[in-house]
């Protein structure tokens, strides 16, 4: 499989040999030929098969040209005229075909010259990547704020897809401001690197809520957290009480059973990014089997998802835009730590999901978690460390301002200037991370503004514009600086104006692919790209971003155009992690992976579908395509391979033996499994279905158009599309028989349908089927046959027939048969991929003119073993890539090029949806204290005082004897305050406070209880407080004891106590869920037992 790249990559002698033919050859002869051999069937009246060839003299549309190009092919292959008609002689053909070719090439050139041109602006993804590279802001998010690009000839990289309106331009201006805002340093030192360990369960978070309802549990030492019994008959009361007692801040492990859904988005909300930058994140994950209160070893390694979530607007609800970071293994009962470096933008946080679990909801279940048996995923913690700035000012700032110093702003009355405006950094959302103290207004300082501006621009503009910048252009930009600076802007603001202008100029936004000045430039067709433009074309192809220094240096010294070096660079760029962008962007469009989520499979018919499965499908296709190129496998493996690239969820979905974990690996096929090649991958099968039903037509069309490069003409307008009907037994296959019966339809559908028929063996989510799933009639499948936790509500309908006949009459019986047949179409597969790459790389479509050169590329590739990376080299070595450059002679390709995985010192197990960033090893912060300790006021030092005031107050919150220690602890934290005596029986305490201490200074005696209450509440996290001793004598109090059912949870007891003590007339209370009781001492003139029961009932507590 691991074929060696063939050495003999050579470029052919001059192509376009057809072009050289004299255009003056008479056109009378073609007319004669067409009249004799074509028009009997293909005149404007008969239009056999919808083809009208009477328009030879008036071909003026791209569509007609396409028809004629096909006619050429049919005649050249001697498929036309048909066998029953008289055939033209070889001499006639030898005369006719070149003349026709010449005519078509001329027409195509005319159309292109009168067309809209091929000058391209950057796509929004290129724009984003370009900024990321130049400014070293590897995660700045810009693409989604720019208007979406169009698509032409299948790609957003084609010039026609890259329109520009005033709206787009206005967005570029906004984006430029955003870039500069993030790039420029505003403080003299880097933000402090902080490392925090946070829990999935937290104050105000939704996870606390679902855990309280039994959709998760808190764990310690692989067992239930003794302070937080799992919700059973009674759900936990009042998250607020739990927060106040610090239940969520004890670093307990969170075990979740519930999958993310419309109303549940588990996020780690206690870190919301303030400073954009690189952050190291670590998390510890494992899984278990929960059995009604017991933690047991799990069924397998489960998989959890981490994503980066952008809080938007007011932060309400879920469904924030999020990027899936990846899927990470959670082995049974064995915590696994994952670590990686990611970029976080302002307002972003980390999201979590129990990706591999089936949807389940305990909150609605009788007995909640204590009645549930099933898998759970445990998250011990998440650590966020950063921002990790390797240098300060950051590289982005140094790119713009070089080594100019940052200085504090001083108003200079002699030379008044407007200071730069600064954003304020503040705490965001529910984040507990805080910004550093503001160090005042700092900005770049220049002694010689005009000279410095010119010095900076001389370095920056050629980088931004990706080529040399002439002196007069530099001076024009410098003049912007001068004008702004003279008008009173400070150095930084004036430079911002220049940089903003540069970022919105056509020089930056457009790929100006100028021709080499070395060659005579009078004839565009004979000149090639200049080396700098060639470097750009290469890097925007393989990295979707600008060239790096090495590539630019090679362009500069001229060695890039030497074939050996050129091909070495292709290899170098390919083995760089940035080439993953090519895979993602190219496959996303070629195979339409970008639209994987555009249909939502019917939940009744496909209950096993999950976001995890969908992301795994995408990762499979991307990974498979990379493997093919890395290994330089033979082209047939695009569609026909005896191995697959899968992970655990795909192994289950495809019916392979069980695999552990989310990581992808190669698995060999067994006889019984109908997989192998792109067409049997879930992604392709899902994209070509509509979520409810499959149809052979779009699947067949996809294969023809995307894989074999044979675009189907749209159906004649009079043919009604087939109305899908999934009631009962009518299969679409039966309906399609109608097509094949009608001669008009059959001409296309004979080609279209067969590959689609073979894929009928796969449902809309790419599962193998031998019977159609149905909602109406059919047999009931066995419950639990998909997953014991996924109930089945669909029926099994009619049997699937995946047999058919290939267009040459060869029968097939299964998808494997089809794959083998397609796999033999080496030339068509290669020709199509070469053509797709040319469109993608150059933004120009391929037409009739290019066909001979593409044929040559294909033959060259086949001659060297037919490998796909060989094809890549052949395409990039072709003049089509160099846009009409003079043929360059390629010598041998360097032998020992192997793809080395980039070493990242970070560790994780699973799979990533996008590459993470390289580690920043030298930067590690000491872990800051836990948040719980952050929040607690420090223990106060005792102070001698002359002015102690003593008072006895009633204590609120002493709901059980254990709380006395909490009271002692809280009082210790109050400066100038001493606890003298506590009486639990009477819920009172005797205290003294120092009237001369700064904390208490000015306190009047009549407000002392109120002040003590405030202090005690603050020091106890709002679990304790003080109030006046009730005026009613204790002997008149009435004791009421209530029986309550529920949990042995201190926080729930506090919650019940809170309910009781707040009833007007309750003087003192106790609550103890452990002993199933609450006691209240009441003022009988104000309240009674029934009011207590009612108050509890209103909050969901049953009391008697």
């Amino acid at each position: 499989m691991n074929q060696r790249l063939s050495p003999a990559l050579r470029i052919a002698p001059l192509l376009f040999c057809i072009v050289i033919l004299s255009p003056s050859r008479g056109l009378a002869q073609p007319h004669e030929f067409i009249k004799t051999h074509c028009l009997a069937c293909h005149d404007s009246a008969t239009r056999e098969a919808g083809v009208d060839l009477s328009s030879f003299d008036s071909i003026d549309s791209a569509e007609e040209l396409l028809v004629w190009a096909r006619a050429y092919e049919q005649i050249a292959l001697k498929k036309m005229p048909p066998a029953e008609e008289p055939a033209p002689s070889d001499e006639q053909l030898a005369e006719f075909l070149p003349a026709l070719a010449q005519k078509l090439i001329d027409l195509e050139r005319q159309q292109r010259e009168s067309g809209a041109g091929y000058l391209r602006r950057m796509t929004r993804y290129e724009y984003e990547n370009t900024i990321r590279e130049f400014f070293d802001l590897p995660g700045i998010a810009l693409a989604n704020q720019l208007p979406a690009d169009g698509s032409a000839h299948g790609f957003d990289k084609h010039a026609q897809a890259l329109d520009l309106s005033h709206v787009t331009l206005a967005k570029y201006i906004e984006a430029a401001d955003q870039v500069l805002e993030m790039a420029i340093a505003t403080q003299p030192t880097a933000p402090t690197i902080r490392r925090r360990r946070i829990s999935l369960v937290n104050r105000g978070g939704f996870v606390a809520h679902v855990v309280g309802n039994g959709d998760g549990v808190l764990l310690r030492n692989f067992d239930v957290d003794p302070l937080f019994p799992p919700a059973a008959e009674q759900s936990h009361l009042d998250e607020g009480a739990h927060e106040r007692l610090g239940i969520y801040e004890r670093e307990s492990t969170v075990g979740l059973f519930r999958h993310e859904d419309e109303s549940f988005n588990p996020y780690f909300i206690e870190h919301v990014t303030i400073y954009p930058g690189k952050y190291r994140i670590r998390t510890s994950l494992w899984s278990f089997q929960w059995d009604r209160g017991t933690v047991l070893p799990g069924r397998r390694t489960e998989v959890a998802r981490l994503s980066i979530v952008q809080l938007t607007g007011d932060g309400r609800g879920g469904q924030h835009p999020s990027n899936v970071l990846g899927y990470f293994d959670a082995p049974s009962m064995s915590p696994l730590e994952h670590e990686m470096v990611v970029w976080l933008n302002r307002n972003e946080l980390i999201g979590f999901n129990t990706a591999s679990l089936a949807p389940t909801a305990n909150y609605a279940r009788q007995g909640r978690a204590m009645a549930f048996t099933g898998p759970g995923i445990a998250c011990d913690w998440l650590e966020v460390e950063g921002p990790l700035h390797e240098v300060w000012p950051p590289a982005s700032h140094q790119f713009l301002f070089g080594d100019l110093p940052l200085k504090q702003w001083i108003d200079d009355p002699a030379n008044p200037q407007r200071p730069p405006a600064r954003p304020r950094y503040r705490q965001l959302g529910a984040g507990m991370n805080r910004p550093d103290p503001d160090q005042g207004l700092w900005t770049v300082h220049s002694q010689e503004p005009q000279a410095d501006a010119r010095r900076l621009l001389t370095r920056v503009l050629p980088v931004l514009f990706r080529r040399d910048v002439p002196a007069e252009q530099l001076e024009a930009y410098a003049a912007i600086f001068d004008a702004r600076y003279e008008s009173g802007d400070c150095f930084e603001t004036a430079m911002r104006s220049v940089y903003r202008t540069a970022l919105c100029s056509p020089d930056f936004l457009y790929h100006l692919e100028t021709n080499s000045t070395e060659v005579d430039s009078t004839d565009v067709a004979s000149t090639g790209l200049d080396p700098a433009a060639l470097a750009c074309r290469l890097s925007y192809l393989l990295w979707n971003s600008p060239p790096d220094e090495q590539l630019l240096a090679l362009a500069h010294d001229g060695s890039l155009t030497q074939p050996e070096m050129f091909h070495q660079e292709i290899e170098r760029l390919w083995s760089d992690p940035r080439s993953e962008r090519f895979i993602e962007d190219f496959v996303g469009q070629w195979l339409k992976l970008r639209s994987i989520a555009s249909t939502d499979p019917d939940r009744t018919l496909y209950p096993e579908f999950s976001p995890y499965l969908q992301d795994a499908m995408v990762a499979e296709t991307r990974g498979y395509f990379r493997e093919l190129l890395d290994r330089n496998t033979h082209v047939s493996q695009l569609v026909d391979a005896d191995w697959v690239w899968i992970n655990d969820v795909l192994a289950r979905h495809y019916g392979f033996e069980a695999m552990e974990g989310g990581a992808f690996r190669q698995v060999s096929l067994t006889e019984s499994i109908q997989r192998g090649g792109l067409l049997t991958q879930g992604s392709i099968l899902k994209i070509t279905a509509n979520g409810t039903t499959t149809s052979p037509v779009p699947r067949g069309a996809f294969i023809l158009e995307r894989i074999l490069g044979d675009a189907a003409l749209p159906p004649p307008e009079s043919v009604p599309a087939i109305e899908p009907d999934v009631r009962g037994a009518t299969t679409i296959r039966e309906q399609l028989e109608r097509h094949r019966a009608d001669a008009k339809c059959a001409s296309c559908h004979r080609k279209l349908d067969p590959p689609g028929f073979a894929l009928e063996a796969f449902d809309v989510i790419g599962g193998y089927r031998d019977r159609y799933r149905s909602i109406g009639e059919g047999d009931s499948p066995q419950q639990g046959s998909i997953d014991p936790f996924i109930p089945i509500h669909f029926k099994l309908g009619p049997a699937v027939d995946s047999s058919g006949e290939w267009r040459d009459g060869t029968p097939f019986h299964s998808p494997r048969d089809l794959a083998r047949m397609l796999g033999r179409e080496h030339e068509r597969l290669l020709r199509n991929l070469a053509s797709q790459w040319i469109v993608y790389a150059t933004g120009r479509e391929t037409g009739f003119t290019e066909r001979s050169e593409i044929d040559r590329i294909v033959q060259q590739t086949l001659g060297q073993g037919g490998g796909l990376r060989t094809l890549l080299h052949e395409v990039l070595g072709s003049p089509l890539f160099h846009q009409g450059t003079e043929p360059i002679t390629l010598r041998e390709l360097p032998r020992d090029v192997s793809h080395e995985a980039t070493e990242l010192s970070t560790t994780w197990r699973g799979f990533l949806m996008h590459p993470t960033l390289p580690d920043v090893p030298e930067l590690r912060a000491e872990r800051t204290d836990t948040i719980a300790q952050d929040r607690k006021p420090a223990i106060a030092e005792s102070v001698p005082s002359e002015q102690w005031q003593e008072v006895t107050v009633s204590v609120v919150g002493l709901f059980e004897p254990d709380r006395v220690m909490a009271l002692v602890d809280a009082c210790h934290r109050i400066p100038g305050f001493e606890l003298l005596r506590v009486n639990y029986e009477e819920a009172s305490m005797q205290v003294r406070w120092a009237a001369d201490h700064e904390v208490w200074r000015g306190t009047k005696l009549e407000e002392q209880v109120q002040r003590i209450d405030e202090r005690v509440r603050h020091a106890s996290g709002n679990t304790l407080g003080a109030r006046d001793i009730p005026s009613m004598p204790r002997e008149q109090w009435q004791r009421e004891e209530l029986k309550i059912e529920g949990l042995d949870c201190a926080a729930c007891s506090l919650a019940a106590y809170d309910i009781v003590i707040r009833v007007d007339g309750v003087l003192q209370a106790e609550a103890d869920f452990g002993q199933s009781r609450a006691v209240a001492w009441i003022d009988p003139t104000k309240t009674d037992r029934s009011q207590l029961i009612e108050a509890l009932k209103q909050r969901g507590v049953v009391a008697e």
């Binding site: 000058l119 208007p147 005033h166 331009l169 104006s497 202008t501 675009a711």
Partner: protein
């Protein structure tokens, strides 16, 4: 997620009227403050037409189940249908069409971006869209209001109905809250001055890049120069808008009593979100902030049930959802009718085009489009029936609508004349 916070945020709602300018000006003071440039028109031209005529075009993109939409019988005596019965109170105020489509506009879902352009064959490689009805009209009569047109969408994605002359899509405003701010929230004097300064800086920057183009053009072939022209016209368009923005910046925005709406993000709630947008559209018409609106109602969330395969339970669900859309339309027509104006009411001078790009979403066909036109001063109350095999061009309706706006054209897109059977009043 943050339940607690969200309740708090809910009660905060909208903090005051300076929000939009603050948003514009946040960040560095030198940041360009761009107001709503896509549609700014010169301030001084208003009040030219005492009796404005208006239009709104609404497309719902996942089809409308035809058997519940199309009435039976022709002319004024037609039997209403399940959906049209929701509009029965306005029967005399709309015309429903059968057997119409946009010639050559095929490609199933691809047709959704051609509903107002009528440009044929959006599914083909190399497709290039044309100008949309609303933008064509805005170029001609949009100079009379603060916003030459509003391009709106109910969506969480990026679809739009509006396309510039060069076929570039105009991104739609998706947030009712932001729309409200743009229409009605005035900045403080300092904010206005800062915004104007930003606009001037923007204009001088555009002057500069314009100069750069002539230098670049020397190095390009002529088709490529044509491509760069698109950049140039974008620069000029934006400049013009910056200039009018500057004039409008000093003119007070209309004051209204209605509270700003809260955005809804749930894609399932498209009917409710449409109602929110339409209420703002009515306010925009009433205050003469604009006269031309396009609204894309993205119902992709129900895409899978539109492939109902004739399953009764799925059809039922779909019908309930689509009925709620017609209720929203009825509510909009009622509110226009209840808003008095010189001509009896707002609806009399406002054309409401409502329709979809697919005749049957179940099969992705693009013929026999369910469509209706309400209001605007036509002889309504009828069902115009054309050949279901050989459809009548809907683009002719666009010609009629343009003429109704006072624009003298005989052709638009594939339309080659006014719509047969639809008579203008007065």
């Amino acid at each position: 997620m943050q339940r607690r916070r969200s309740e708090g945020a809910n009660s905060l709602r909208f903090r005051g009227r300076c929000l939009s300018r603050r948003t514009l000006l946040q960040g560095a003071g030198c940041a360009l403050a761009l107001p709503w440039l896509e549609a700014m028109t010169p301030a001084l031209a208003s009040d030219q037409s005492p009796q404005p005529r208006r239009m709104i075009a609404i497309e719902t993109n996942m089809g409308i189940v035809p058997q519940y939409f199309f009435p039976t019988g022709e002319g004024t005596g037609y039997q209403t249908s399940d959906y049209l019965s929701r509009l029965e109170a306005h029967r005399d105020q709309f015309t429903v069409f059968s057997g119409v489509s946009l010639p050559g506009v095929t490609g199933g879902h691809a047709a959704e971006r051609c509903f107002l352009t009528g440009t044929p064959h959006p599914e083909r490689g190399g497709f290039r869209n044309g100008v949309s009805l609303d933008q064509f009209a805005a170029e001609r009569i949009g100079d009379q209001t603060r916003f030459s047109s509003l391009t709106l969408a109910v969506t969480n994605e990026n679809p739009t109905l509006s396309f510039t002359r060069s076929g570039a899509p105009i991104p739609a405003e998706k947030s009712p809250r932001k729309l409200f701010e743009k229409l009605f929230v005035q900045g403080t004097p300092e904010q206005i001055e800062a915004a104007i300064d930003g606009l001037r800086q923007g204009r001088s920057m555009l002057d500069f890049v314009q100069d750069q183009i002539s230098r670049l053009e020397r190095t390009l072939s002529s088709p490529d120069r044509a491509r760069l022209d698109q950049y140039l016209s974008a620069v000029r368009d934006l400049e013009r808008r910056l200039e009018s923005a500057e004039q409008w910046e000093r003119k007070p925005k209309p004051q209204i009593d209605a509270p700003p709406p809260d955005d809804i993000t749930d894609p399932q709630a498209f009917a409710q979100r449409t109602a929110q947008m339409l209420e703002l559209v009515r306010l925009a018409f009433e205050t003469d902030s604009t006269r031309i609106v396009s609204l894309f109602v993205d119902t992709t969330v129900i895409h899978n049930i539109t492939h109902h395969g004739n399953r009764p339970e799925v059809l039922g669900e779909l019908k309930a959802l689509e009925t709620s859309q017609f209720d929203v339309l009825a509510q909009f027509l009622t509110s226009l009718r209840q808003t008095p104006e010189t001509a009896p009411n707002l609806l009399d001078r406002t054309m409401v085009l409502y329709g979809t790009c697919m005749g049957s979403a179940n099969s992705h066909s693009n013929t026999n489009l369910p469509c209706l036109l309400a209001g605007g001063g036509f002889q309504h109350g009828q069902h115009l029936v054309f050949d279901s095999e050989n459809n009548y061009p809907l683009s002719n309706l666009f010609v009629s609508m343009l003429q109704r706006l006072g624009i003298e054209v005989d052709e638009f897109s594939t339309g080659r004349g006014t719509f047969r059977g639809l008579e203008m009043l007065g």
